[in-house]
């Protein structure tokens, strides 16, 4: 038995990281044949075997950092080749790619083509060779083996790669995913990108997504995949609310230090409508409906490169002043990134106010696991016909996107009619 130790690679170096075993237990190894690799301070070093024999024990795993002179393996010089483990060929099939979820409308990521079945005819392959073949997508049947008994070695793969270098092995285009039934036309599997001109000035700029953007992206896709969205739009006459607002605006600014917007009125009207139609204030959990007894309304706040939806809790228990105060506070702290985690969770319904950016109407995406979201368009003075006369009124288009699994159009429109009724006949005090 010969002990193999972590070598000393320099005066100041007291440890090394074992990065790769080039042999596995049971493998025959020649003296001076590379046995493992270590990494110290950006220097990778191949360590040759101190003796010829069979690698009988590997004592340190890949990735472990150990002190110099630690025994990392033992080599049995007494042949023992017959003891080669029988598991070598069969055990190491690459794991099958997980099956794509069946209900996914987005084109499923096609499984990477397996690097051509590692047929037994190739003889035993070391884990390193398998890994390299996988990484570079090499068909091992095309690689000439020069090792013992025609076995494919690391250097064979390197030679193969070098000879194929001009064309970096691009994986075969994934097979087109089957078009999902009745889904909106999916984008083609491989979006054709115009070839970029080589070299010179870079023609593109690549930037990693922020964590927030990744979260938003995941949530949007999840929501569209979870809920069949349907959007209904109602035209709401906001003239009464506009008058109310005009009357109290200056007083709000003077007494409370913030303005009075349309949003607390719409939030208040939503709370009333949600009390009337509790299904809109629910969640779907498998085959159960969860009715929320609290009305917690999320208000979408645009940030520089994203958005966040802080929650006004107990929205039905507040008047317009209380709602406006909450909205101003939450939006301000959202923009200065000082919201507490519990302030962005637990919403039972959401409102997004794209009207403040001039949008007439929109079809918002449901904030899961809620089942509906209200979209508020811009409020404009508009000529409308009332009792066969043309009048100028403050008109707002308000949309409701709802989860059609749970809510039908009739209910959605009843909800909107209630909301509209509250806003058009505003009678509550605001203070």
């Amino acid at each position: 038995m010969t002990d193999v130790v972590m070598p000393q690679m320099g005066e100041s170096i007291v440890e090394g990281t074992l990065t790769k075993w080039l042999k596995k237990p049971g493998d025959r190894v020649e003296r001076d044949e590379p046995l493992f690799e270590i990494s110290t301070d950006k220097v990778d070093t191949e360590i040759p075997s101190p003796a010829a024999g069979t690698l009988s024990a590997v004592l340190v795993e890949e990735g472990a950092t150990v002190a110099i002179n630690t025994v990392v393996a033992r080599i049995d010089e007494a042949g023992g080749a017959a003891a080669a483990p029988a598991t070598a060929a069969a055990a190491v099939q690459p794991p099958a790619p997980p099956p794509a979820p069946p209900a996914t409308p987005a084109p499923a990521a096609a499984p990477e083509p397996a690097p051509a079945a590692e047929s037994e005819s190739l003889g035993p392959l070391s884990p390193l060779v398998r890994k390299m073949a996988r990484e570079h997508n090499i068909d091992l049947a095309r690689v000439k083996g020069t090792g013992a008994g025609g076995r494919i070695t690391k250097s064979d793969l390197e030679a193969y790669l070098a000879s194929a270098a001009p064309a970096p092995a691009a994986p075969a285009p994934p097979p087109a995913a089957p078009a999902p039934v009745a889904a909106p036309a999916p984008p083609p599997a491989a979006p054709a990108m115009p070839p970029l001109p080589p070299a010179g000035q870079a023609k593109t700029r690549i930037e990693p997504l922020s964590t927030m953007r990744i979260k938003i992206a995941e949530h949007m896709v999840l929501s569209k995949r979870t809920s069949p969205h349907v959007t209904t739009v109602h035209r709401v006459d906001m003239t009464k609310v506009a008058r109310m607002r005009e009357r109290y605006k200056a007083q709000f600014q003077a007494n409370y230090g913030f303005s009075l917007t349309y949003l607390p009125f719409i939030t208040r009207a939503s709370a009333v409508a949600l009390r009337h139609f509790p299904l809109v204030n629910s969640s779907l959990d498998g085959n159960n409906i969860i009715y929320h007894n609290e009305i917690n309304i999320g208000i979408a706040v645009a940030l520089e490169n994203g958005l966040i939806v802080p929650v006004v809790r107990g929205a039905d228990e507040r008047n317009v002043l209380g709602l406006q105060r909450s909205i101003v506070d939450l939006a301000g702290r959202a923009r200065s990134r000082q919201l507490k985690p519990e302030e962005v969770t637990g919403g039972t319904f959401s409102i997004t106010n794209f009207g403040s950016y001039g949008s007439l109407m929109g079809t918002p995406v449901i904030n899961q696991p809620q089942v509906a979201i209200l979209g508020v368009g811009t409020v404009d003075k508009t000529p409308v016909v009332i009792d066969d006369a043309i009048a100028i009124r403050s008109i707002c288009h308000i949309s409701l996107s709802f989860d059609h699994r749970l809510i039908d159009g009739a209910l959605a429109d009843q909800f909107m009619t209630k909301l509209k009724q509250v806003l058009e006949n505003w009678s509550e005090e605001v203070l």
Partner: protein, 225 residues
């Protein structure tokens, strides 16, 4: 004093230079050739070290291929890096048994060579503790990644002279989210060839060797092909 052959390879593809390195390293291990310092420039290429992390590659090989950038996994130490026009690349093929059997000392001497060279251009560069490479303030100007086999070195360093730094956007250089810089960005007007000629004497001093031109008979042999 030991001899070190200086070879200037001009602009050469990564794979070709790698083949030359491997050939020289194999010869060096058997004592058939002396120490070498290869100085060169690569066309656009992104290479991944043995211990590299795929997440430090911000664009897939297909996107890079479209942008005219080659992708090359290698056996050097370190993570992902970019090489391209305007970057002075140096590959020392040294037998460290004839200098110091010390990988730490080797990396420090490479860094010192680069620091000395930059000082010639009045750029105050230095080290950042625990991070390999050469830095100007918080910006990385030169990267280091080495492979060692039986104390013979290969791979080496890359110094940004007039490198178009926008190409670094495809990667997180060496897994560090620190910015990169170049000599040109710091106001130096020099080509990578000129900087290479300045570097050679500093290399000789730090590695206590004498730089010689390519062995004539070897050069003659190659020029016949």
């Amino acid at each position: 004093m030991r001899n070190c052959v200086l070879r200037e390879l001009g602009r050469i593809r990564y794979g070709e230079a790698l083949a030359i390195q491997q050939q020289l390293a194999a010869g060096r291990k058997q004592g058939l050739v002396p120490d070498h310092l290869l100085l060169l420039e690569h066309p656009h290429v992104v290479t991944m070290g043995r211990n590299g992390h795929a997440e430090n590659l911000l664009a897939g090989p297909e996107i890079m291929a479209r942008a005219g950038i080659e992708y090359f996994p290698t056996d050097r130490g370190g993570d992902v890096t970019y090489h391209g026009p305007g970057q002075l690349v140096g590959y020392p093929i040294l037998d460290l048994r004839e200098w110091k059997r010390d990988v730490g000392a080797y990396v420090r001497a490479i860094e010192q060579t680069l620091i000395d060279t930059l000082a010639d251009y009045r750029i105050a560069a230095g080290r950042i503790p625990k991070l390999t490479g050469v830095w100007v303030g918080e910006r990385k100007i030169a990267a280091i990644g080495v492979h060692l086999s039986r104390w013979v070195t290969s791979h080496g360093f890359a110094l940004n002279v007039t490198t178009d730094l926008s190409y670094f956007q495809y990667i997180v250089p060496c897994g560090l989210s620190k910015p990169v810089t170049s000599m040109a960005a710091l106001g130096v007007r020099a080509t990578w060839e000129e900087v290479g000629r300045r570097l050679a004497p500093h290399f000789a001093r730090n590695f206590e060797c004498e730089m010689t031109a390519q062995v004539p008979e070897l050069a003659a042999l190659e020029s016949e092909n």
